[in-house]
């Protein structure tokens, strides 16, 4: 037996190590020490302890792997039956070597090649460090131990494992002579060494009878610079896989491993863990660069293969699920409960149960909250699961493929609505990304957002509150209140994806802005903080441009009430500018029409309902939803200490936001400042913050404080929250959502199914803040016509599209649409169909109950709108309609009408046969079928071109686009794509830069 001790520095334990070697009960033990270029007196210590002959000194450090390799090259090693590889910071129990040797001769186990000891911490003898390891399918080493797990004898049996800790590893001579020692490229990687021994048919055992104590582990990089643990793990894992699996296994493991690496890269990039992503790439790159050597080593390993891969399968664990950890966590929890039982053995059962529950909830609030959330969500969304596409409510239709999102994002022209060149929202990139993540199934992406959105928003709210209060328990309750608020349930019920994104963004947004105006240093530093806030604002604005109104309100109140006003103003102003840069192509879209993009016509006129944050009919919009603001008020009253100021600001913000929400929908605010949903989300966020502040202040020490409001208020707050959350959870679980598989009104389904070709639809509703008929989505504006005023929207036949997320209906086409509707509703014309013809509008749809009688009467008097028999909806068919893009045979009179921008002339338009053109990514194509005038319901732009023709575009009906004298085949193309392409590249660069600045640092 030869013990090879490699010393890399004067370990505090070296002296003890040498002493332990000297104290071993095993007699035939020779010791050879390798001084790996130490320079701090270790050499002298070794020489004194072992003598000059037993100490070999390296002039330059080689690391453990090479040092062991050098030692085993000596004749003395070859003469020993076993070598014991020891690190210099290991202290062995006196009988450790005996026990290791004893394990090699264990009855019933043949060919024991490697034996490891039970490794405990050098300083804390009960803390387990290693009891043997396994690997996942992809070569990552896995230990059954929890961090800091205490040795309670739970592993005190000889275990057959895949690998043991190399700090004290006994290796049979045949092993290292046949499979070699460490792969020196990988450093002293125990797993790889033991795996190779296993492949060669040797057994690897961990004997707990041999106990060693081990200090902190050294990095063993063999000359390379310091890298992150992730790099080392991934580099070694991939190399081990390449060497140690048989071909058959490698055929499926390797592709799967590469796929997982791509997924991990994606997640790391999305989470802005760029450096970790880089380390992962570097690990793969290293393996590619060393593939030749790896293949050579593989040949050696495989040549000596003694067992097939499947024989080692029970030493490998699932790659994704680390089930044992869950069990171990559960075990720990049970243990805690047992301790409680022991402490309260004499207490009555009911008291024990109460205490146990209270203890469990207070110690594991996130676990309990998550568990309950999973149950509520599972029940709540059961009707949304299934293969069918979600429709109904205000859920936007997704394109057939994820590419649809990106095509529209980079397109120079707007393919929806009435065209124009205003850019789509960068939010489309997110939606496209999510669609790709759901394997290209956009319907799944739609469902994923609806189902996961509330959970994500709740988690982000929790994180914001916990950052604010430092109390996980209070934060869980506050986030639960947010997640079960009437507002959240309404957003889910209606399928309001943008709203769900806004509800996810708002808590961190408000928390960060509050932080900017608060006292104290910023952890991130100002630059990183500002960019981070800019990113958050940009994400919110991309989905709901009106989010900027909430930002403005919070910032304004911060500037008025916050302690660090100058800093706050500077940071928020900087962040706002940054956000504008991050969505710069989208800024003109938002600003168009005097800031119409900031407007939302959705809201609640009933102030009492609004107070409970109910913006429409939905499960959970009932009276019990009032628990949320009531709890917020109680939370404000209970806030104390350092939370008083921030709670005060949140309270004032909440009230003002609610007031603005009502004023928005009631029409008292300018259009650009009207966005009830954005204000309501802000109010909900502040209410949850108040609950967090109140609970944090009330919790802890209550029983020691003199009786007063704190106790009464605390109990009241707890009661309100308990009752409110329970009822809201119940409402969510049994609620009937507005979205689902079959939520399109039958009337529209029948009409739509009977109609051919593409067309536009004008949807109308009252001005009371409620949405348009399904699937019209939300109103795009209001037609002011006195008693006949209505809210309106225009869509294609699919209804509201996700491609228009955050993008308002503005521009000259919209002006024409609005004017046509004004003319109809004012009763001055009875030729509304002709006025709508150029807009490609074939149907006008509304719910009779929601539209004013004067508007009904106005539509009934139109001679070129025909009422379609349809139960449940009022649908008018435009008999004068033109297709959104088509070619007509126009005589002089018709041509003159098309060329006119005067509604008095346009209303004389009479229906003519037309040949519809098909839309594609670049414009429209089709056959003229004898027509001579192409008319497209897209805003006039001189950049439109008629392929293979010199014909220039002309305005149609004063706003659209037309081409005269078209040939038999028509192709209309957009000629100004380059500027948008450049914009998108710049946008990508800006986001990359912002992501890099706000990247998460890698652990080293």
């Amino acid at each position: 037996m030869l013990a090879i001790l490699v010393v890399r520095s004067t370990e505090p334990a070296l002296r003890e190590c040498l002493h332990s070697l000297a104290s071993q009960t095993y007699g035939a033990l020779g010791v050879l020490a390798i001084d790996d270029a130490t320079s701090d007196g270790a050499h002298e210590l070794l020489v004194r302890a072992l003598g000059e002959d037993r100490v070999i000194r390296h002039e330059t450090p080689l690391g453990y792997a090479r040092s062991f390799a050098a030692a085993t090259a000596l004749p003395v090693a070859a003469a020993a039956d076993h070598v014991l590889l020891l690190h210099g910071d290991v202290v062995l129990d006196p009988d450790a070597v005996s026990c290791l040797v004893e394990a090699t001769e264990l009855a019933g186990v043949e060919r024991v090649g490697v034996v490891g000891a039970k490794v405990v911490d050098l300083d804390h003898h009960r803390a387990l460090r290693d009891v043997g390891r396994s690997v996942d399918r992809f070569g990552h080493g896995m230990s059954p131990l929890q961090i800091g797990e205490i040795d309670q004898g739970q592993f005190d049996r000889v275990l057959e494992v895949l690998a043991v800790d190399g700090c004290s590893m006994l290796i049979a001579r045949e092993v290292w002579q046949t499979v070699g020692l460490y792969d020196e490229r990988l450093g002293a990687d125990d797993v790889d060494l033991c795996w190779r021994a296993r492949v060669a048919g040797w057994h690897v055992l961990m004997t707990p009878r041999a106990r060693v104590r081990h200090g902190l582990r050294h990095a063993d990089t063999d000359g390379e610079g310091p890298r992150s643990p992730r790099y080392e793990q991934d580099r070694v894992a991939l190399a081990s896989v390449l060497k140690n699996y048989g071909w058959v296994t490698l055929l499926w493991v390797l592709p799967l491993d590469l796929l997982l690496i791509i997924v991990r890269l994606l997640f790391l990039a999305l989470g802005r863990h760029f450096e970790e992503a880089y380390e992962l790439v570097a690990a793969v790159w290293w393996n590619m660069g060393h593939l030749g050597t790896t293949v050579r080593l593989r040949r050696i390993a495989q040549r000596g293969r003694g067992v097939p891969d499947h024989a080692l399968r029970h030493f490998t664990a699932s790659a994704g699920l680390h089930i044992p950890r869950w069990f171990q966590t559960a075990e720990r929890i049970i243990e805690e409960q047992r301790e409680l039982d022991t402490q309260e053995a004499d207490a009555p059962a009911s008291q024990r149960l109460r205490h146990r529950t209270a203890s469990f909830v207070s110690v594991h609030p996130v676990l309990v909250g998550s568990f309950l959330a999973v149950i509520v969500i599972a029940f709540a969304v059961r009707s949304l699961l299934g293969p069918s596409v979600l429709v109904g409510g205000a859920i936007p239709a997704f394109p057939a493929t994820p590419n649809g999102f990106f095509q529209q994002l980079v397109s120079g022209f707007r393919a929806t609505g009435l065209g124009g060149s205003l850019s789509a929202s960068p939010a489309l990139a997110v939606l496209g990304g999510i669609s790709y993540a759901t394997l290209g199934a956009t319907a799944w992406a739609q469902k994923a957002i609806v189902i996961a959105g509330p959970a994500v928003a709740t988690v982000l709210c929790y994180r914001a509150v916990v950052r604010r209060t430092g109390r996980p328990g209070a934060s869980v309750v506050a986030a639960a209140a947010y997640g079960l608020s009437a507002l959240m349930l309404w957003a889910v019920s209606e399928g309001r994806l943008a709203q769900l994104f806004l509800m996810s963004v708002m808590p961190p947004l408000v928390e960060r802005i509050d932080l900017a105006f608060a006292r104290g240093e910023l952890n991130d530093g100002r630059w990183r903080f500002t960019v981070g806030l800019a990113v958050t604002i940009a994400v919110g604005v991309a989905f709901v441009p009106g989010a900027v109104l909430a930002v403005g309100l919070v910032a304004m109140l911060g500037a008025l009430l916050g302690p660090s006003r100058r800093r706050g103003i500077t940071l928020v102003a900087g962040a706002t500018v940054g956000a504008a840069i991050l969505v710069f192509p989208f800024v003109p879209t938002i600003a168009a029409g005097g800031g119409h993009g900031l407007w939302s016509g959705i809201g609640q006129l009933d102030a009492w309902k609004l107070m409970r944050l109910s913006l429409g009919e939905a499960p959970g919009g009932w009276t019990p939803a009032l628990f949320f603001p009531v709890a917020g008020v109680l939370g404000l009253a209970l806030a104390r200490g350092k939370r008083r100021a921030q709670a005060g600001r949140a309270g004032v913000t909440c009230l003002i936001a609610l007031a603005l929400a009502w004023l928005s929908v009631a029409g008292y605010l300018p259009e650009w400042a009207s966005n009830a949903p954005a204000y309501a989300v802000l109010a909900a966020t502040c209410a949850s913050f108040l609950i967090g502040d109140g609970l944090s202040s009330a919790m802890g020490g209550m029983e020691r404080a003199s009786f007063g409001f704190r106790q009464v208020g605390g109990v009241l707050l707890a009661a309100v929250l308990a009752l409110g959350l329970s009822l809201q959870a119940l409402a969510a679980m049994v609620g009937n959502w507005s979205i689902g598989a079959d939520r399109i009104p039958a009337a529209w389904t029948v009409v739509d199914a009977a109609a051919r070709g593409s067309y536009n639809v004008v949807w109308l509703a009252g001005t009371d803040g409620q949405p348009l008929p399904v699937p019209g989505g939300d109103p795009s504006g209001v037609v002011p016509a006195g008693d006949a005023s209505v809210a309106y929207g225009l869509t294609g036949r699919s209804g509201m599209l996700a491609l228009d997320m955050g993008r308002p209906l503005t521009g000259s086409g919209t002006t024409a649409l609005q004017q046509a509707l004004v003319d109809v509703l004012s009763g001055t014309t009875v030729h509304g169909g002709a006025l709508l013809a150029g807009l490609g509008v074939r149907f006008v749809v509304f719910d009779e109950a929601s539209v004013p009688a004067a508007a009904l009467s106005a539509f009934a008097s139109q001679v070129d709108l025909e009422l379609v028999p349809a139960a449940g909806l009022t649908i008018w068919r435009n008999v004068a309609a033109l297709p959104p893009a088509g070619v007509v045979a126009a005589d002089d009179e018709a041509s003159a009408i098309v060329a006119s921008d005067n509604p008095d002339v346009i209303q004389r338009w009479e229906p003519v046969p037309s040949a519809a053109l098909s839309a594609d990514d670049a414009g429209w194509t089709g056959s003229a079928e004898g027509g001579n005038l192409a008319i497209v319901a897209t805003e006039f732009d001189d950049a439109w071109e008629l392929s293979s023709s010199t014909s220039r575009p002309q305005p149609a009906f004063g706003w659209g686009t037309s081409f005269a004298d078209v040939g038999s085949d028509v192709a209309i193309r957009y000629g100004d794509q380059l500027s948008r392409t450049i914009e998108m590249w710049l946008l990508a660069i800006v986001w990359i830069a912002a992501s890099w600045i706000t990247r998460k640092p890698v652990r080293r």
Binding site: L605, D606, A607, W608, L610, M611, P629, V633, L634, L636, A637, L638, A639, R640, G641, R644, G648, G651, V652, L655, L658, W662, V665, A666, G667, Y668, G701, E703, R704, A705, S706, G708, F709, R710, P784, A785, G786, A788, S789, V822, D823, S826, T828, T829, V830, H831, L835, A860, S861, V863, D864, E866, L867, R877, V879, D904, I906, Q907, R908, P911
Partner: protein
């Protein structure tokens, strides 16, 4: 566990009342604000600012017959020219008649086909407002003249009570559907002494798109002196009028009413004084009604119409004696509503009829009813109010530009007044614009025809909507 009672330092800062008060204040403000919001309600939305795209459509279910002549009269009381696009409808489909321009303060008369019994004409007006009416003159084996204003309100329900299926008389309902979708109608005939007739083949009866049909009442309710009809379009929109043709000569038209009412004003002029008031009671409940004759004399009971009881779902007619330009006001007691009509005998074999109106107005355009030779126009103004009303009248001749001076006519309270004949004779075929200081009803009548006074027709005026510019100021 330490069970000492502590406060302040150890238990954290004392419960500062500041946030408690703030919470109270904010909660109070929220409640007050919600209450105020409830009271305040939403902001009123501004009125529509129309672009100037002004148009209207007039439906003229005039009917016709072999050798008949149809005339559409379009009068423009405003100060901008308007354009009219005419389409004629019949059982065989639509055909364009043409586009005519109507000058400001003038009228245009356009002949339209009227050879089919179900003929009708749709007139689209662009660029302004204009009043439209029809005159049909029988030809061939028939004789007589009928006139009525066209309707600009296509609707789903129509009532008309002027049918006569007694011997030698043929009554028709002219149902026009100028729209692009088929209409489906149910026709119910109301009779004096029998339950309503609802024939299966007149239930869910399709009226094809852009078609106009004539429904002969005779076979359904033979031998009735007064037949009312209610036409309900269960799908689509239509316009309905009655057309009565008498074998011994004489035709008359009455445009249907889109709504029943408890009070009807039935003006009459140019006739011989032998009139018949007809009522249709659509509801199942009976009614009590009475009639008052308004004329240049003080109001008096019209005929025997003091208090008449009439059962539900029926029609009733009663003779009334009129004196010169006058009107019969029919008033139903209680909550009952009816539709009404008045037919008046003319100087010759021809007679005339009107459906009257339930709604007086301040401005009217009375279109000419007397076309052809030997025209004798008449216009009656009826004031059903409690105060005398003065009205300014202006002729709107073909070619526009107004003829001569305006005149002012004062109509006593609860009275009727005829327009001086010399004024009308300035241009017997000109339309008359009536602008009053109070609410009036205006009706035009006239006699003409190859037989001198043989042909007689009445047509209610067309109320001028608000917003039409260029009207003379009321006196």
């Amino acid at each position: 566990m330490d069970s000492r009672i502590v406060d302040h330092e150890e238990a954290g800062p004392a419960m500062n009342t500041g946030r408690g008060w703030l919470a109270l204040v904010l909660a109070t403000l929220a409640v007050i604000g919600a209450g105020a919001a409830e009271r305040l309600g939403p902001a009123p939305l501004p009125e529509a600012e129309a672009s100037g795209a002004v148009s209207s459509v007039w439906l003229c279910p005039h009917g016709g017959g072999e050798g008949w002549e149809g005339t559409i009269e379009i009068a423009n009381p405003g100060d901008v020219p308007v354009e009219a696009r005419l389409h004629t409808l019949s059982g065989g489909g639509p055909s364009a008649v043409g586009v005519v321009e109507v000058p400001p303060h003038g009228e245009t008369v356009r002949e339209v086909p009227a050879s089919a019994r179900g003929a009708s004409t749709a007139v689209e007006i662009f660029g302004g407002w204009a009043a439209v009416a029809w005159v049909v003159r029988a030809g061939g084996k028939d004789g007589g003249m009928g006139a009525e204003p066209c309707t600009s309100s296509p609707a789903g329900t129509w009532s008309v009570v002027d049918g006569d299926t007694s011997q030698g008389v043929h009554s028709y309902l002219i149902v026009m559907n100028p729209f692009a979708s088929d209409a489906v109608i149910d026709v119910a005939l109301y009779l004096p002494d029998r339950p309503p007739v609802r024939e299966a083949d007149w239930t869910d009866l399709p009226v094809r798109a852009e078609r106009s049909i004539a429904l002969d009442l005779g076979p359904r309710a033979l031998g009735e002196s007064i037949v009312g009809a209610q036409v309900i379009a269960t799908r689509g929109r239509i316009a309905v009028a009655s057309l009565v043709v008498r074998n011994r000569g004489g035709i008359r038209s009455v445009l249907g009413a889109t709504a029943d009412a408890p009070r009807w004003i039935l003006p009459v002029a140019g006739g011989t004084g032998g009139g018949t008031v007809s009522l249709q009671v659509p509801g199942d409940a009976g009614i009590r009604f009475g009639g008052t004759l308004l004329s240049t004399s003080p109001p008096q009971t019209a005929g025997n119409l003091t208090v008449i009881r009439q059962g539900g779902a029926s029609t009733v007619s009663a003779p009334v004696r009129t004196f010169g330009p006058s009107a019969v006001v029919v008033q139903v007691d209680g909550a009952g509503v009816v539709s009404a009509g008045l037919r008046e005998g003319g100087p010759g074999p021809d007679d005339a009829a009107t459906g009257g109106t339930a709604t007086p107005g301040r401005a009217w355009v009375v279109l000419p009813t007397a076309l052809g030779g030997a025209k004798k126009p008449a216009v009656v103004l009826v004031n059903d109010g409690d105060e005398a009303v003065a009205a300014t009248l202006q002729l709107l001749p073909e070619g526009g530009g107004s003829l001569g001076d305006t005149i002012t006519v004062t109509v006593e309270a609860h009275g009727a007044a005829g327009v001086p004949r010399p004024f009308l004779q300035g241009d017997p075929t000109a339309a008359v614009l009536v602008v009053a200081a109070g609410d009036l009803v205006a009706l035009g009548a006239g006699t003409s025809g190859p037989g001198g006074d043989g042909w007689y027709a009445m047509a209610l005026g067309v109320p001028v909507p608000l917003g039409v510019t260029g009207l003379p100021a009321p006196p």
